[in-house]
């Protein structure tokens, strides 16, 4: 099969790249094993995104596409981004947030002492979201007045979970019954805290399960019925917001007609000649294209594989009695780094710093946090057999496969910005008649 652009990987970066390439006029084929880590993603575009015109354009593109797909995102008014309460009770920052969560910006919520505070509403059957604990943690961490209530869905004991509740919320008849119950349970008859002037909470936070498809209508109806902002909190997987993103974006891209999804395909072979990739193939089919976007994920996404030899690249020197001397460390002169299996791209390892090994660890000490493809997103080099350190002129890398920067591990905005950039570059390269490498207009 032949396309203008082939995108490998359909997580956040892959979907944004496919949208971006299609917007650039290309016929796009998306080859992927799965929806990547979207099923785990909270839905928040965390950052920082960085500065520059590119970033602004990328974020604009994301917002527009999301709107067209029916899953609108919002950008915070403050430059620092949204300050949101998470389902841990702690705060999390985001550059962009889905509309369902954006109203939960803590900066916008009334927090005065006489105010009625925030109500964390949970479902007793949703064991993953214990409202009382979230409220307690939120009180401790944010200093806000936070209360909690749990609604019972009246199920018999069974495998209740987020997806099941989300399905209920998509049922219009059930939802109108829920509205009545919510009004009764969540709006108290009298003020629930001393010094409050009203029984109505300033805002109500739900788990992110208010419908896989009907969430916009549901939230609007809830806000009207309960008389205050109603929003969702980012929470642990199984992630309904991530599933929404996957379903809505895939549908939009398929319906627009330029993007074809080949799901459940694992690329096992690539055809590279003279620094250009000509095709990629799974066991059955060869996919040809003029430009490729590689968005297979970093270590978290399974696009970078860590073998024991990459893990133990820094080893202890051998002591006198043949046992290893745990106080002396030496760096392997040619350490193995995590492997990028499709093109065997050069990667930077950033494995564990064993010299600071100990039971107390912080996140900076975790191995491979910033591991990624060396050298950036364009013209990645590969030292694999047959490539001989030539840059691959028509392959663009997007997403967490790029790894983090010096200071931080990768964020969701990296996927969005690099995905947009890679898709745009791939489309413009594919549009060139002779397939010469296009320059970046910046």
């Amino acid at each position: 099969m032949t396309y203008d652009v082939v995108v490998i990987g359909s997580g956040l970066a892959g979907l944004v790249a496919a949208a971006s390439a299609a917007a650039g006029g290309a016929k796009v084929g998306v080859i992927s094993m799965s929806s990547g880590n979207l099923g785990l993603w909270s839905g928040l575009a965390t950052g920082p995104a960085g500065g520059g015109r590119d970033v602004a354009e990328a974020l604009c593109f994301f917002l527009e596409t999301a709107e067209r797909a029916g899953l609108p995102y919002r950008r915070a008014a403050a430059s620092a981004g949204f300050d949101l309460l998470a389902a841990s009770g702690r705060k999390v920052r985001a550059v962009l947030a889905p509309e369902t969560m954006a109203a939960g910006d803590l900066r916008g919520l009334p927090t005065t002492a006489g105010g009625s505070g925030l109500l964390v509403a949970g479902f007793t059957e949703l064991a993953d979201y214990p409202a009382a604990l979230i409220a307690a943690e939120a009180r401790a961490w944010t200093g806000l007045a936070v209360n909690h209530r749990s609604l019972s869905l009246g199920w018999e004991v069974g495998h209740g979970s987020g997806p099941r509740i989300a399905r209920l919320f998509d049922d219009r008849a059930w939802f109108s019954g829920f509205l009545d119950a919510a009004r009764r349970v969540l709006i108290a008859e009298k003020p629930w805290r001393a010094g409050m002037d009203t029984a109505r909470p300033a805002a109500i936070a739900f788990p992110p399960v208010l419908g896989l498809f009907a969430f916009r209508d549901n939230l609007t109806a809830l806000s009207e019925a309960l008389g205050c902002p109603v929003f969702e909190l980012p929470a642990l997987p199984p992630s309904i917001p991530g599933q929404r993103f996957w379903r809505f974006w895939r549908h939009r891209l398929e319906a627009d007609g330029r993007v074809t999804f080949h799901a459940g395909r694992k690329v096992v072979k690539t055809g590279v000649e003279d620094g250009r990739c000509l095709w990629v193939a799974d066991e059955l089919t060869r996919f040809q294209a003029r430009a490729f976007v590689l968005a297979t994920g970093g270590v978290a996404g399974g696009g970078l594989l860590v073998s024991p030899s990459a893990f133990f690249a820094v080893t202890a020197a051998d002591g006198e009695d043949g046992r290893q001397d745990q106080d002396r460390w030496s760096v392997d002169p040619a350490p193995d780094t995590p492997r990028e299996p499709l093109f065997d791209l050069d990667t930077a390892g950033q494995g564990p710093d064993w010299s600071t090994w100990g039971p107390r660890t912080d996140r900076d000490g975790r191995p491979f946090q910033r591991a990624g493809v060396e050298g950036g997103s364009e013209a990645p080099r590969s030292s694999g057999a047959g490539h001989r350190r030539k840059p691959l002129a028509n392959v663009f890398v997007a997403g967490w496969l790029l790894g983090g920067s010096e200071k931080r591990p990768p964020e969701a905005c990296l996927s969005i910005v690099s995905g947009w950039r890679a898709g745009r570059l791939a489309a413009s390269l594919a549009a060139k008649p002779d397939g010469e490498r296009g320059g970046d207009p910046r």
Binding site: S35, N37, R164
Partner: protein, 474 residues
């Protein structure tokens, strides 16, 4: 054990849980993560003093409720074949004690060959009954369904007048086929035994594209058996097909493509068959299997294009007054061939699992054969039928609950036809929404024949038994 079947690779991320339509509808199903990798991991070896997990445990986890829609496979970031592991649990659950009646009706559906022949054998009687005393005949059909443990709410397809093999032979034109390349049609039980219109349309299109179509003896692909956990039955079917199709291939040529209009059959022959039948012969067979959409968009594309040109010329010749209006704009000409659209297209789960993309809408769109309505993202999911799982009395309500978002999305549209490659999807959507359904190849066949609507060319529509919108489940 191949990597994809290694339960130890599962980190419990629950991405599969987020994607599963059965879990979302039914609290009795523990979900793909538990019934798949977690349960498989426990079956690797028991803990000291604990009973080894067996059929009772598999049934308690609701393993029989999985529809094998493969949504979990397409959600797993580690590439684990979750549905295959769940399938192992289903096979185990099928060994749990059940009433003889449940066993019988389960087996009936798993063994499509037998079921199909049963229905065909009653064909003449059903036709007679429907002619002479329709209400009584319908009532008797409903009672028979109940007796067999199937849901009386389902509509049975009308008994066909002419079987597919007979039609194929009677319409063959050997003089045209002398130099044509051959292909083997794997029609699928539905087209072979219940409703030959799809088979007829497929054959017309393939012949028009310049192929000689052979319909050798074949048996059920085994997909209903796999879906019910009847592993042995599925293996028998696979072995039989390897033998039968192998013989035909020897006659026609080792590289003869095998084309199926039903994505479940394609998936079963391409992926499951080589797992059930070891050896080179099975693997070689599996590598030649094509979905009809893939084939028409692939090897048959140029032949199809030529056929289209021919049709346009014929249409122009037949109505010379229209030729005066012929414009240089080809798409306007093509649009005259438009059947009475608009359409909605539903991607069957198994077609999505094949990963070949939405080929028929692209094909029909490129041919200008009609506009497609957009039912929204909710319609991209599973219709809930699960092959034949939705036919049983117990499965009927469950299938509607599972497929609710999809069925509601189609119910709100007003297409002339809802198109889908999979006969089970068509059945479910027709029963739930009351709309007419067709295989997209039927639209294509009509377009090539230059007729307005595929439905006019076809026999009487099936008598539907229930049409009150989507029945609510308890």
């Amino acid at each position: 054990m191949s990597d994809a079947l290694l339960p130890g690779a599962c980190i419990g991320c629950a991405a599969c849980v987020a994607a599963c339509p059965v879990l979302a509808a039914d609290g009795g199903f523990a979900g793909p993560k538990v019934v798949g990798p977690a349960f498989a991991r426990h079956r690797e070896g028991g803990w000291p003093g604990e009973p080894y997990p067996g059929p009772a445990e598999a049934a308690a986890l609701g393993a029989d409720l999985c529809l094998r829609c493969h949504a979990c496979d397409l959600a797993c970031p580690a590439g684990i074949a979750v549905s295959a592991l769940t399938g192992q649990a289903k096979t185990l659950a099928a060994q749990a004690p059940q009433t003889a009646f449940h066993r019988f009706s389960g087996r009936l559906l798993a063994d499509q060959e037998r079921f199909g022949h049963l229905v065909s054998a009653a064909g003449a009687a059903r036709r007679l009954g429907r002619c002479l005393a329709p209400r009584l005949a319908l009532g008797l059909e409903r009672t028979s369904l109940r007796v067999l443990g199937l849901s009386p709410n389902r509509s049975l397809p009308a008994p066909p007048r002419l079987s597919l093999p007979t039609w194929l032979e009677s319409t063959r034109r050997p003089e045209l086929e002398r130099t044509s390349p051959s292909l083997i049609l794997f029609a699928g039980c539905h087209a072979r035994l219940h409703d030959p219109r799809v088979g007829q349309a497929a054959v017309s299109v393939l012949r028009a594209a310049g192929y000689r179509v052979a319909l050798p003896t074949q048996v059920c692909c085994g997909s209903p058996a796999s879906s019910s956990g009847e592993e042995e039955l599925a293996a028998q079917a696979a072995r039989a097909n390897v033998a039968l199709l192998g013989q035909t291939s020897t006659r026609l040529g080792e590289e003869t493509p095998i084309v199926s209009p039903c994505p479940s059959c394609t998936l079963a022959l391409r992926r499951t068959l080589p797992e059930l039948v070891p050896g080179q012969a099975a693997r070689r067979l599996a590598s030649r299997v094509w979905d009809l959409g893939e084939f028409l968009a692939g090897p048959a594309a140029s032949g199809l294009h030529l056929a289209l040109e021919r049709t346009m010329k014929r249409t122009a010749e037949r109505s010379p007054d229209r030729s005066a209006e012929r414009s240089p704009d080809r798409s306007a000409e093509r649009s005259r061939m438009r059947t009475s659209g608009p359409y909605a297209y539903h991607t069957p789960c198994h077609l999505r699992a094949l990963g070949s993309g939405r080929l028929f809408p692209a094909l029909l769109g490129a041919l200008g054969s009609g506009t497609f309505l957009d039912p929204g993202p909710a319609a991209d999911g599973c219709c809930g039928m699960g092959g034949l799982a939705g036919l049983t009395a117990a499965g009927y309500g469950r299938s509607l609950a599972t497929g609710r978002p999809v069925l509601e999305a189609y119910a709100t549209l007003e297409p002339a036809l809802i198109l889908s490659d999979c006969p089970a999807c068509r059945w479910q959507i027709a029963d739930a929404t009351g709309r007419d359904t067709a295989h997209p190849v039927e639209v294509l066949a009509a377009a090539l024949a230059g007729v307005d609507s595929p439905r006019r060319q076809l026999r009487a529509a099936p008598l539907s038994i229930s049409k009150e919108g989507i029945p609510r489940t308890s």
